[in-house]
Each structure stands twice: as C-alpha cells, then as structure tokens.
Point group: C2
Chain length 232, copies 2
Amino acid sequence: MASTDTPGQGTGHEQPVLRADAARNRERIVSAACAVFSQRGLEVAMEDIAREAGVGVATLYRRFPTREALIADAFEHKMTAHADAVADALEDPDPWRGFCGYLERVCAMQAADRGFASVLTLTFPAAKGFEAQRDRAYRGFVELIQRAKNAGRLRADFVAEDLAILLMANAGVVEGTGEAAPETWKRLLGYMIQSFATPAPQPLPDPPSPTLMHRALLRLRPGPRKGCPPRR
Amino acid sequence: MASTDTPGQGTGHEQPVLRADAARNRERIVSAACAVFSQRGLEVAMEDIAREAGVGVATLYRRFPTREALIADAFEHKMTAHADAVADALEDPDPWRGFCGYLERVCAMQAADRGFASVLTLTFPAAKGFEAQRDRAYRGFVELIQRAKNAGRLRADFVAEDLAILLMANAGVVEGTGEAAPETWKRLLGYMIQSFATPAPQPLPDPPSPTLMHRALLRLRPGPRKGCPPRR
DNA sequence: GGGTAAGCGGAAGAATTCTTCCGCTTGTAC
DNA sequence: GTACAAGCGGAAGAATTCTTCCGCTTACCC
C-alpha cells in the first residue's frame, strides 16, 4: 500500500486540499466502503456505507459524486495488491509456477471479496489510478504468459483474454456457491489450470478479440440495480 | 412444448379450474415472463411482465403470488427441454460424444437465455413439476457420467457437482460478456471439456459435497442478494 | 336472458434507495 | 479570540418497485 497520508488525494484528482476533519472522514468512508463492498457486493445502498463510516449521506456524496468514484477509490489498494501479485509471479524462477501461483492468488482474492470479484471484471475509464494498476497487471500478465509459453508449459493458443474468461467464470462460481460451499472455486481453477497446461489436447474455439473483450469489461454497473427484494 | 390446452394447470397445483379468459391470460403471462426473463434476467419488475402480457399487475399477482412461482412456471418447458437434452445424450452410442454434446447444449441454453442461466443454478423446493425435471436431468446426467467413465473417456474423479460448477462458471461468463462478446462461453467450455477428458494430468481439489452444493443451489433469489435481515 | 361469482385493471399505500438542499457546526488563518 | 469558508448531518423530494384493495366487467351455468 502506498502512502495515503496526504489528505486530498486518492485517484489522483487533486482536490484543492481537504480540511483535516474532512480528510479523516474521507478515509473512514473509503474503508467502510471497502468493508461493506467486500461483504455484500457492489450494490449496497449508499446509506449503508455512510452509516458504517459514521457519517451522513451528504458527506459521502460530497466526496464521491458517483458510485463508480467510490468503488474506484475503495478498491484501489486491492488493485495494487493484485498488480503486485503479477509482479511477484514474474519473480518466480519457474515461469509456470509463477503463472499458476498468480491465478491462484487472484481467484482467492475474488473468493475473499465479493465486491472485488465484480470489480476485476469491470473497467472504469474515469478512474486514473485504478486503471493504471489494471494496466500494470495486464502488462505483467502478458509477460508471464510469454515466459510460461517459452518454458513450454503453457499451451501456445492461450491468450490474455483467457484470464478475463477465468475471472468471470470464477466470479460466477463464487457468487453461486457463496458461503454454502466456499472452497468450490479451487476445483474450477484446478480444472482450468490443467487445460491451460501443455500438451494441449485439442484446438479451442476462438477467444473474443481484445476489442470485444474490452467492450465487455466496459459495461458499467454489474446488475441493473432494480429488484428490491421480492422477498418471501 | 407439451400440451398446454387444459386451462388450470402448469406446475401441478390444480387450481379449481380457471375460467376461459383467465386461462388465456395465464398463458399470456407465462409466455411474456418467459420472453422478458430471457432478455433481461430474473429481476425485472413485475409490472414490466404484466405490461408485456397485456394484463394488469393484479392479474399477475392473482395467478402467481410470488416471483418464484412465476419463474417456476415460466421456465418449466425449458427445464423439460434440458432434461430431454440429457436423455438425447444417453441415446448417443458414443458416451463421450453424448457427454460433451450435452454440455454444449446446456451451456448454449444458458447463453441464449439470461434468465435460464440463473434458473439452472437455483432450486425451487416448492415447484413440483419444475424440480421433477431437474431430478430427471440429474439422474440422467449421473448415468451419462458413469457411461463416459466406463468408456474410459471421462476422468475418474469427475463428479456430478462438477456440472453445477460448470453452470455457475458459464453463467458468470455469459453475464460478464453479454452481447459484447456472445461466443465467449464456447471457449470456456472448450477448456473445461479438455480437462474433463482422460488422461487426467493431475489430481484436483476436492469438490463440494452433494449436501453443500445443494445448499448453495438453494439460495433463493439470484442476483445481488442483500443481507436477509439488513442488520445495522 | 339473467344471476352470480370469478376475474379484471388501475389506483393507492408501503418500502427502498438515490440525490439534493439547507441551516448549523467547526477547523483554520490571522 | 474571531471571522468565515469548509464541512456536516438529517430531512425532504423524486423515482422505483412491491403488493393489496376495490369497484366494475364478463364468462358460465341454468
């Protein structure tokens, strides 16, 4: 985690400079959002976050005019940790072990944080610092792919978009199994890793082009925030 | 589609017997729900379904007191088609081809129908006819597994719960890629099938027990669940 | 045809959630 | 200490959606 001492920064939007109490509240909001998103997903009511942070809703809206802005700030440090995981994987002298280790870590992060699972499959064009970490992770991952292929351990037709597919698939499993069967994702990953490895038994259907996949990641807001609980 | 001529039936709850106009409206509602769920997912507003059906909301609620009841009726024929797909697969003289063909069909059904993708990973204990089809499919699938294993084509440690994992994973991909990259699910399935095939390169993490998986499927309400008791 | 109960649709009330507004409080500079 | 702008919280208005209620209509039986 980088320095978060200076008051008015986060994504890189330099707020004029916050008053001390305001900066304190801002931090509380970010950390409350982090906790609540993690536990209950990205679609919690703004008021719940404000309550958790111990501030009024207006204070929350004053700092984060949109939910996206809040999400971007709340998950920036996890995006950094994620990009660090890629960097760590590149350190591994064994490229294949690095590759698999990274996949394990990112999927585990999804399983541990419901909000992060969604965030990983979304793109926020407006959030500079946030997207910068995504880009760093992406570049590292491309490198990781190349090394694993060179080592002869990763099948040649694996592409970077396959990571997005895995993340979406894993998000589905994590969402579907929830607390009822929280280890299930490991089995999915086990299957996927085995089919990523050489020798590749069969050719695969084409992956989506980078452009298509990027467009898919762009879909803002995951589930239409409609249905209030059709309870009972 | 089976015979739907007799008025007051659907799930098997024998309504006393509906008046002709009521039976007509009921059918319209079911078919509107089917269309709308397919296109926009299970969480559309009840009013939207009523409008699509050309009836008032009260008429909808009179026939289907809960959303679950409507979902169960709306998807019963697709659940039947799904179970039929399993039966078809069992007809195939080549067990492995039957197995793969079934997976392809069920994943394609998920990709073609947003509501059905969710429904397949849910259980509605109250909906008799609906769950009967699920059970039929399940029994057939277990048989399909056994035959494919006997033929030496399916890895020995494959279990029925792995189908649920695949369906959840595929639901995640379909949801994540949406219309932006609608063929992506084929690549996920390609990977998965290759790792299902023998020879199994490596042991896998344990699957969830049938009990755990069943509990996971029981989670009513798809989508972003909130805390049942929204504690504060 | 006529009586009757089943059926109908839209309005209305309740519950959420989003977002803004406004008067009061408080940190900070001097 | 004082002035004042920044900041604050809760209320309030708007928008959805859920679910029930009620007076009017109509299919069905005789």
